[in-house]
Amino acid sequence: MTEPAGIVLKNAWLIPAIPLASFVLVGLVVRPLSRRLAGIVATAAIFVSAAMAWILAWEYFSATPHGEPTAVIPWTFEWLRYQTGLTVKLGVLVDPLSILLMVVVTTVSALVHLYSIGYMHDDEGSGRFFTWMNLFTFSMLGLVVAPNIVQMYVFWELVGVSSFLLIGYYYQKPSAVAASNKAFIVTRFADLGFMIGILILGFYGFRLFSELGDAGLQPFDFAFLTSPAVLERLATMHLGTCDISILTLSMVLVFMGAAGKSAMFPLHIWLPDAMEGPTPVSALIHAATMVVAGVYLVARLFAAFAASGTALMVVAYVGAFTCLFAAIIGLTQDDIKRVLAFSTLSQLGYMMFALGVATVGHPLGYTASMFHLFTHAFFKSLLFLAAGAVIHAVHTNNIWEMGGLVRKLPITHATFLVATLAIAGIWPLAGFFSKDEILGAALDGGHPVIFAVGLLVAGLTALYMFRIYFLTFWGKFRGMVTDPVHEVPALMRVPLVILAVASIVAGFVPMGRFVRIGEEHHAGINLAVAIPASILALIGIGLAWILYSADGRRAAQCTVRMGAFYTVIKQKFYIDEAYLFVTRRILFRFVARPIAWFDRHVVDGGVNLSGWIARTTGSVLRHLQTGQVQVYGVWFVGGALLVLLILWAGWR
């Protein structure tokens, strides 16, 4: 078979390098000059990157139309050399998975940048905003193209840092600061697991490397870690006398990192709070960067997860649980962006369990997960951008203070409706196809419980999405704002329309041809799945119409009838409170406080003691320095005499 080749493919390193260069340029040179120009430069850079990503995809897939997809590494650079045979390279890995992510990341990021020029128009700090946005995009691209797990981890953390910077963009707002800290700390806690997983993999991988490795690979390379020989050996190694194989242990730890980034239960708590950032940031975090990193990691290491069945089951059940859990909470939230955040959680749950139900012999879920990642990126970024347009117009996030915007914001309404239908899985929009494939994979993979959860959530998705749709756009305007509501400027409409078109057509992309394991999968609509899923979605929409069309009066009665149950859901099952309890009451009191005492009294005490000794000695010796030359002379003569005496005594 032919090796894919092309100009862009050979220079694929430019795709992450351009945002990096733009980040430096905008941050250091352009931003102090003009924040308008900063936005334009930053956006242009991402558009160039996006164009390259599309050309790259075309070059790659036209070179390998039906053959087995190959991984190409057109550029590497030796970065860390620990010892002979153990080096870590920075590089660019081009295979169908990374191409898919590159296309998604650059496209969505470019459109979000374009939208941000309009959205951040009146913000004095928008130069800073665009700088961080470029950094964010660069980090995600670096993560996506990583050929080894160490590079991925480095960029993984960079993504964390840039999301921290962007979520805390309004740093004068205490809630934004708290949210950015929360996002950073929660994901960092998860990354601890990821790092330990990497270390375990690296340790055992290096031991196996001497017998199994070949010249072209390094112990940390994904190609080495997912090669069957290595996985077979890792799966048979055991940790001491425990019944857990090294492979399962390391994969579960790696999944902890993935769950943190992808906000899987119970590490999901940072994502809803991440709404404190500007809306375009939310769109970027939720659609293209950050949260899909976890799904991508699992997909990248899919062979390793699949080799350890236990780890894959963890992925599947955590995904399915998050999917249902987030959808239920999403039904009760009042903040439009928060509902979208929970819907992201739910959709990420879909992607995760789709990976979890796939096996090497039956890899439909793998394709389905990536397909859903692809389509979700478009309609979720569209939802956020449209929600941003609504917020821009009515200056509130609360859906109960909106309503009746259908006339005032026609384009926003149309695009929001498209995205809502897409996420609800209505034929022929994008979400229908990917969700159908996921549910089909769950059913065929022999996971009836997960399939049932997926089906139920399909209905719930339609319900909570149409809930905010009806409350936002229909009924009477319930807000306090008296100044007229304006449609967004043309600059912001363009990305909305492009994303709406993408949300419609993305479902027709034959993903089974592009991203797959083994045989090419011909996507067909699985009627046994599609019909019940569509019916449930329609029921969800109908229910939303009944409950929320008349300004939500019926829903209010319903709420009262549900009583405490409703309150529990609305308080997000008190997960945040549970975290606070565990951290404040237990960790702070019984762990942090003794450590702080030890630090303050023993460690600091030692330091203070040495300081005290030096100071006291000095203050005693100080009296010797009288400033009188003759006193010094006496000391000198006395000393000389003493030396003479000693010499004399020794000579004798």
Binding site: Q625, T626, G627, Q628, Q630, G633, V637
Partner: protein, 110 residues
């Protein structure tokens, strides 16, 4: 002793005793004089005693060589230069503080 000296002339040991006495007087003056000029004079005494040592050793141990005498000449030259510097410092000191009493010059007291 006068009789002895008249008969034999002073020997090495006598010169060394003289030089030691001069050196001790110099040290005593250095440590006890309060006037800077007096200290300078004491230093000169010590220098001269050391120079005398050189000459005396030369004279009694290696009478043919002149190393000791040359060293003494150097010491005298250095002493002259040192006196110049020291006196200049004293003049400057006196201008600033109207005194050359070393007990009052204790600005470096710790």
């Amino acid at each position: 002793m006068i009789q002895y000296l008249a008969e034999h002339g002073p020997g090495l040991i006598h010169w060394l005793i003289l030089s030691n006495v001069l050196f001790a007087i110099g040290i005593y003056g250095l440590l006890s004089r309060r006037n800077a000029i007096g200290i300078l004079m004491s230093v000169e005494l010590m220098l001269n005693s050391a120079a005398m040592n050189a000459v005396v050793f030369n004279r009694f141990l290696t009478p043919r060589a002149v190393d000791g005498e040359i060293l003494a000449l150097f010491v005298i030259a250095v002493a002259a230069a040192e006196a110049v510097v020291a006196l200049a410092i004293f003049v400057a000191l006196f201008r600033n503080r109207s005194s050359i009493d070393v007990n009052r010059m204790d600005s470096l007291k710790g």
